[in-house]
């Protein structure tokens, strides 16, 4: 066996010391079954063929790795490329995961799906997958996020999903995960929980990473084909960490490639003002896994803030915690204001409106690109498009729509 950083998790779901399963006993058997069913599916060529076919003809993959010429000129440094996850059906990377997990749901003979959502992108991607395969779908969404993301709520309902408002706690993503877990406690025999990021108990962090790895695999091949070599830097935003994990994982053993995860810096480093779990958090347990968490000294989860509902999460995937401690990936934070700048710069210079989540990765690239030489290659994971964010951005810029 190699000791490669990519050779994780082990059979107990350990990424080094991180990950594992910290959930009520009621869920344990289902997680064991899911793990073995997923292992079987992974080895099954028909499952893979079906997934590939859907990714190609339904999701629209492969999406381009696009040379952002004007953004590159604007920064005056290395060449900036965009991995266009925004061009997927539903407009974000989330669908790579929901299609895979929906296929798995059917393999397990389950007919009902639950999901949590923050910005609504994962909720929409789950509703889409369920409509496509005729599965019942219930999406848990914080009351506060329902108010902020009306368009996505309407879309989910159009596709036949039931959107349940979560009124407990902070009424955002973290509480939506709690509520979905509670539903699963009583429905686990007939229901699959499609977690939307690389979080939760084993096997979710591994499985979601695997389904999202199509991003990094395509990027790696496209970069080699278009430029003849690997990128020097790859930048992705980190909420729970799924687009970044999918982007980074295929590059983990390419030591020359710098990997940078960008968290939500919110209004600043004071507790409650940001969602930069890896920058300011400490080791702990949240939502069934062990990793970095924003908690107080008693282990109570702290409130978080971000301009972006999709990054507004006090935990992070265990594999990111592992990559942080091993030093393989660097993590940094971008503030609300910087993200808003990135959003506008991308729109003006490239004619692409990025999701406010992805704008965090864009903003970091804008910061570092000018310090790189013209031969360097920088890839940004453009995890989603920004249609869902235009109301909020207009409000923040004091403009009418």
């Amino acid at each position: 066996m190699t000791t490669s950083l990519s050779n994780v998790p082990d059979s107990a779901g350990r990424f080094g010391e991180f990950g594992r399963r910290f959930v009520p006993e009621t869920l344990m058997h289902a997680l064991e079954e899911l793990t073995s069913e997923y292992e079987k599916a992974k080895q099954d060529p028909t499952f893979q063929a079906e997934l590939d076919d859907l990714l190609k003809h339904y999701v629209g993959r492969p999406n381009p790795l696009y040379f952002a010429e004007r953004l590159t000129q604007h920064c005056g440094g290395g060449k900036i490329y965009l991995k266009r996850e925004d061009l997927n059906h539903t407009g974000a990377h989330k669908i790579n995961n929901t299609i895979g997990q929906a296929l798995l749901t059917m393999r397990m003979g389950k007919k009902r799906v639950i999901a949590e959502t923050g910005a609504g992108q994962h909720g929409v991607a789950s509703a889409v997958a369920c409509a496509r395969f005729g599965l019942d779908c219930v999406v848990y969404m914080g009351e506060e996020d329902i108010r902020r993301q009306k368009l996505n709520v309407f879309n989910m309902k159009m596709m036949g999903a039931e959107v349940r408002a979560v009124t407990s706690g902070s009424r955002t993503l973290r509480d939506a995960v709690n509520e979905a877990m509670r539903d699963w406690m009583s429905s686990v025999e007939t229901t699959h929980y499609i977690i939307g990021s690389v979080i939760g108990p084993h096997p979710f962090p591994m499985m979601v990473r695997d389904f999202q790895s199509v991003i990094g695999k395509e990027t790696r091949a496209q970069c080699l084909e278009q430029t003849g070599r690997l990128p020097d830097q790859v930048i992705a935003c980190v909420g729970g960490g799924s687009n970044s994990a999918g982007m980074f994982y295929p590059f983990i053993d390419d030591e020359s490639v710098k990997l940078i995860g960008v968290e939500a810096g919110g209004r600043g480093p004071e507790p409650g003002q940001h969602a930069s779990t890896l920058s300011y958090g400490a080791k702990g347990v949240l939502h069934g896994s062990f990793g970095y968490v924003l908690q107080d000294d008693d282990g109570q989860t702290l409130d978080v803030h971000s301009i972006s509902a999709g990054l507004d999460y006090p935990g992070v995937g265990p594999e990111h915690s592992y990559w942080k401690d091993s030093g393989r990936v660097n993590y940094t934070a971008i503030t609300d204001d910087e993200a808003l700048e990135g959003f506008q710069t991308m729109a003006k210079l490239e004619g692409i409106i990025p999701a406010i989540e992805s704008s965090h990765a864009v903003a970091h690239a804008l910061k570092v690109a000018r310090d790189t030489g013209p031969e360097e290659i920088i890839v940004i994971c453009l995890s989603g498009r920004g249609d869902k964010d235009v109301n909020e951005v207009a409000r923040l810029l004091d403009r009418d729509i």
């Binding site: 959930v23 009520p24 406690m185 009583s186 347990v285 109570q300």
Partner: protein
């Protein structure tokens, strides 16, 4: 059969918690489960969630609870039944497991239930609890297959917490008919006492369990009454008495 009421610590404050513990002790309960408020309790239904939220909003801290209990345990005028803490592993880990266990022991706890630490992950904590002579109670759910149960009972001590239904805490009208068979199969796998929890609220439920379980836990039906402590229109002593009367009734039902 042993009657084990569950209460939330710090709802609405620790003075009240101490008063409730004294009241329950007078009513002849056999063991008290003390719930540590947690911000993200995924195994709990709305009643206990809301109670936890009230306690946290009022500034509950783990260390303050340990101090309050230490004082109470040292009070010669009161004999408490055994106390078992119900506490998320998120809290134990962050507090520091050694520190947590030592302080819990000094506060008078005789054991812990850690609902999000399944048997598979419990080895390390089980060794530590053993070293300080605290029991580590393990939970078994109706969905736990026999091969898992066998592994779980190996690391368990004190009693086995048998979850009556697949789901979260909260009162239910009926206990599931499969429960009897589940208890019988558990009985064949362990010599530890079997305590049933989740959903229980009335003497009828207790009668169904008679002869099959060694104890039962009542949580939401008691904690539901805690909301009244935060209601300015209600008299604290009257609320205490109502909780005590209910506990007395259930304690009597176990003997009945």
């Amino acid at each position: 059969m042993a009657f084990m009421p569950f209460i939330t610590a710090g709802d609405p404050d620790l003075d009240t918690t101490v008063a409730v513990l004294k009241e329950l002790a007078h009513r002849g309960v056999d063991l008290i489960e003390v719930g540590f408020p947690y911000s993200d309790p995924i195994a709990d239904g709305p009643v206990i969630q809301e109670s936890y939220t009230r306690a946290l909003n009022n500034g509950f801290h783990v260390h303050d609870l340990f101090e309050a209990l230490k004082t109470l345990s040292a009070d010669p005028s009161i004999t408490l039944p055994p106390l078992v803490g119900m506490v998320s592993y998120a809290i134990i880990f962050r507090y520091g497991s050694d520190k947590f266990l030592n302080e819990a022991k000094a506060a008078g706890f005789s054991g812990l239930i850690v609902p999000d630490l399944p048997g598979d992950e419990a080895q390390e904590l089980a060794e530590k609890t053993k070293a300080v002579k605290l029991d580590l109670v393990q939970l078994v759910s109706p969905l736990t297959p026999e091969n898992r149960t066998k592994r779980i009972v190996q690391v368990a001590s004190g009693f086995i917490y048998c979850i009556s239904v697949a789901g979260t805490t909260g009162v239910r009208d009926e206990l599931p008919p499969e429960l009897t068979a589940h208890l019988e199969s558990l009985r064949s796998l362990t010599d530890l006492p079997l305590a049933v929890g989740f959903g229980i609220s009335n003497p009828n439920h207790v009668n169904t369990l008679r002869g099959k379980a060694d104890g039962f836990i009542i949580g939401s039906a008691i904690v539901k009454q805690f909301a009244a402590f935060s209601d300015p229109a209600q008299n604290r002593d009257a609320v205490l008495k109502a909780i005590g009367d209910y506990a007395g009734e259930m304690a009597a039902a176990t003997k009945g």
